[in-house]
């Protein structure tokens, strides 16, 4: 307690807050003389001068430089990063983005490629291509059948699971169904590559592969594939393939009794089910019974 009071005393004295009585008491103490000298001489002490102007200049100079580095940088970096990311993503999506066109069974789709080449997709077919850099990279992946009217330009490839067709400014039909691969050229030149075999087609010529084997097909006299006008010509086609084509075109299910049938050659209308069915049933001696979307063929 006494110590505490003593503590306050010296600080109080230095601050000039002692009462007269306290002061008299303190002055009588042996240490007073030294304390008084300390007070007097310490009051005459000075710290080294401050060069205020230089300090201020340094502060303002640093302030401008540092703030420009510290505040502008993240702002700039953020924008730059966002831009880069956006660009990168856009580029990625743009280059890898594919356009997919599908023709459902019983329907067909006609569409234009970026160079205005036109493609007619036959029923139950699918075409996929990239719009990016199309003019230098004209590739269409095809699953099914399509008729191409290709605009003039560089190489044009149709890639199917059964082979690749390469063309230069031409009109041609490609059909890749199951194990059957047919290409018919209507104008210009077509290069067909299947199973490592390269065949050049000129207008009117066709090439067909059944299970990878080349089948001789007569010259095509028409100016465009028959299916475009709903008249499909078959050449030594398996009856199952013919039936499958009819299913796609009419959007029906057709069941055929298990049997050995001779290949079908001839034309079938694809917009007149009764006539087409009549043709098939009269040639193969079958009977047709229709219930809704289902047709059952039975032996006569």
């Amino acid at each position: 307690m006494k110590e505490e009071k003593e503590n306050n005393k010296l600080a109080k004295w230095l601050d000039g807050r002692m009462t007269d009585e306290e002061l008299r008491e303190f002055e009588a103490l042996p240490g007073f003389e030294t304390y008084n000298k300390i007070k007097a001489f310490s009051g005459a002490l000075t710290a080294p001068d401050v060069d205020i102007d230089t300090l201020y200049q340094n502060v303002t100079r640093h302030k401008n430089r540092k703030s420009s580095v510290r505040k502008l940088n993240p702002w700039f970096a953020k924008i730059a990063a966002t831009l880069l990311l956006t660009l990168g993503l856009t580029y990625f999506f743009y280059t890898t983005h594919t356009t997919n066109t599908v023709a459902e069974t019983g329907a067909r789709t006609e569409f234009l490629l970026p160079d205005h080449s036109s493609i007619v997709l036959n029923a139950g077919s699918e075409a996929e291509y990239r719009t990016w850099n199309w003019d230098n990279n004209r590739i269409v992946e095809l699953n099914g059948e399509a008729y191409f009217k290709v605009a003039k330009g560089k190489k044009f490839d149709v890639v199917t699971p059964l082979g690749t067709v390469t063309v230069v400014g031409t009109q041609f039909n490609v059909k890749a169904r199951g194990n059957r691969f047919d290409v018919t050229c209507f104008e210009g030149k077509v290069m067909v590559n299947s199973n490592g075999e390269e065949i050049m087609l000129t207008p009117g010529q066709s090439v067909s592969f059944e299970d990878g084997k080349n089948i001789i097909v007569p010259l095509e006299e028409a100016k465009q594939p028959g299916w475009i006008t709903y008249e499909v010509a078959f050449h030594s086609e398996k009856l199952t393939n013919v039936i499958a084509e009819m299913e796609r075109q009419y959007g029906l299910t057709i069941s055929l009794p298990e049997d050995v049938y001779s290949p079908f050659s001839g034309a079938l209308p694809m917009n007149d089910l009764d006539t087409a069915l009549d043709n098939i049933t009269s040639i193969y001696h079958l009977k047709a019974k229709r219930t809704g979307d289902r047709i059952v063929l039975t032996s006569e």
Partner: protein, 173 residues
């Protein structure tokens, strides 16, 4: 400081005035702390730079405490400190001007040297508080604000400093 409070210390004139008002105290305080002018100047600069960089977030009435807080935090990195070297003002070095006999003057000079040595030997806490009062004429409550301690603690440090100084000086005799 009270005017211009709308635009705050971001206003160059406000900042400039604030700087002039406080630069000397801050620099001296740091000098008592480090005993090194260069370090004191550096930290002073740094504290004011930080203040200006954050001027938008620091209201004028908080500027002073912000300044000393930054200075104290920055000081943590400046561990090594040197002996504080102080000068006596050229004028008014004599306590008793009426007793200027040579013997007395010599004794006085001796005392001054002893006092300087004793001050250099104080702890940092005692020295800063004591010198802020003696040289900068800071009131105890101002010192408390600068050091971030209570007035009572300031008085304790001042008292401790005086006791220590007397002891040192008398031991040197």
């Amino acid at each position: 400081m009270k005017k211009n409070s709308l635009s705050g210390i971001c206003e160059e004139i406000t900042f400039s005035n604030f700087f002039k008002d406080h630069v000397k105290s801050l620099r001296n305080y740091l000098f008592y702390k480090f005993g090194n002018e260069e370090q004191a100047d550096d930290v002073t600069q740094e504290a004011f730079i930080k203040l200006w960089q954050n001027c938008a977030d620091v209201p004028p009435e908080k500027a002073k405490s912000f300044l000393y807080t930054v200075a104290n935090n920055t000081s943590l990195n400046h561990i090594a400190h040197q002996k504080v070297v102080l000068q006596y003002a050229k004028r008014n070095t004599h306590v008793h001007t009426d007793e200027q006999n040579p013997e007395f003057l010599m004794e006085e000079e001796q005392f001054k040297v002893k006092l300087q040595k004793a001050i250099a030997g104080l702890t940092e806490a005692q020295r800063t508080a004591f010198l802020l009062h003696r040289i900068d004429g800071k009131k105890y409550h101002e010192i408390a604000e600068i050091l971030g301690i209570s007035i009572k603690a300031v008085e304790k440090r001042i008292h401790g400093a005086l006791v220590e100084l007397r002891k040192e000086i008398e031991n040197m005799r």
